[in-house]
Symmetry: C2
Subunit: 221 residues, 2 copies
DNA sequence: TTGCAATTCAAACAGTTGTATGAAACTATC
DNA sequence: GATAGTTTCATACAACTGTTTGAATTGCAA
């Protein structure tokens, strides 16, 4: 029902503006101007500015999460309930990286929006991210099944580090490019995925984390 | 000259409030109320709100960077111009982690402020962070000297991943605690440092990153 | 003490923000 | 084609923001 036209025009304009200029300096007035609709339309259709942002983020976010789970489920089914750790990690970080990196000039608005969201972190988005724990638990479960001999703590640390490398690389992609003077090619997404997965796998499978090698620190002093 | 009292009262109050409630909802009026000074004092002593935030961040930031370089220099001198990679990495991530983690109830205001700064990322702080590249280059140089047979690209990726693990762990420490139901002990800072250093070292020293193991992805489909 | 600069203060300013209102325009159903 | 419900619109609102102003006060030197 209803033409829906105004609603989606707002969503599109907001995503574009937020992606380009960040949440900080885009006002509702900017958005309605870009969308060619009336100022009051935002509150009419979304209730508030925060709910608009939340809807934008949730839409993209569940798309990524669905893809993640799809890959995970496929892998576990093929392996009879147990998937190789590399494949699990690839399902965890692949969709996010693919959704946010890739050749700059062909990055979708959605991708650029998600990068913004991971850099700026405004309240409505932070609230949503906090609800992501249940989703991550599914990966923790799969990882435990893949590495039953590994301690739970190590599993969680491995999961944490995998997400760390993926998200940080997205957040700081510009800086890494500058620091490496272009030598790190962030457009080759599959190479980035491979690197993250490879390191995370090592973290999770390497011989037991040796008991706190503090000796090293002492040597350094 | 001058009593300086007002100035430091503002700095202290601002750091406390920002640490507790974030940059988003702390106004100049909140700060001057907490500091028991006049509203105009902020602009008089700092020029603007952004400059106040910048000074707060810069102070803590150069303290950390100095500590990093001190550790790095000590290590390289002891090794005759070449330090073990673990020690370099420890110098890179140790000071930051020690400055931000540790038992919650004994975290300094400064530590809590820096955590905020790494979570919320406001414009004045982002501007400063962007100038950190020269500082990181020094570590990249040391790492190249430590691993001369390694390609530059791999060095930069290793550096990136080390910072990723450290910063993400700080940013998301609450979530990791919740996800792991307290099993990951973020109060044991030296253990966290050891884990990050250990994984980053593996990333940098493991046999050449095998040429894009895309086969794995294909298997998973 | 006098004079001068540095500091503090209350008050106002200027601008922006997200949101609410109530009338107008539209749409579809009977 | 009247009616009821939805959507759009111009406009106003109310609150809050960082910043400025100019007068008062303070501190220090001559």
């Amino acid at each position: 029902m209803a033409s829906d036209h105004t609603r989606s025009a707002i969503l599109a304009a907001a995503e574009r503006l937020y992606a380009d200029r960040g949440f900080g300096d885009v006002t509702l007035r900017d958005i309605v101007a870009e969308a060619n609709v009336n100022l009051a339309a935002v509150n009419y259709h979304f209730g508030s500015k925060d709910e608009l942002i939340a809807e934008l983020f949730v839409t993209r976010s569940i798309a990524t999460n669905r893809e993640r789970l799809r890959e995970l489920k496929a892998a576990e089914e093929q392996g009879g309930g147990r998937a190789p750790i590399e494949v699990i990690l690839r399902a965890l970080v692949g969709p996010t990286l693919r959704g946010c990196l890739g050749p700059q000039n062909q990055r979708s608005t959605a991708a650029r929006f998600m990068i913004r969201a991971s850099i700026e972190s405004v309240p409505p988005i932070r609230r949503i991210k906090n609800r992501e724990i249940d989703h991550l638990r599914k990966f923790a479960g799969a990882m435990r099944r893949a590495l039953p001999e590994r301690s739970e703590v190590d599993i969680y640390w491995g999961l944490n580090f995998a997400l760390a490398m993926a998200h940080h690389t997205i957040r700081e992609s510009e800086r890494l490019t500058k620091l490496s003077e272009g030598k790190c090619d962030l457009d080759d997404v599959e190479d980035v995925v491979a690197r993250v997965v490879s390191v995370a796998t090592m973290a999770l499978t390497a011989g037991k984390v040796e008991a706190k090698p503090r000796a090293l620190a002492r040597d350094a002093r």
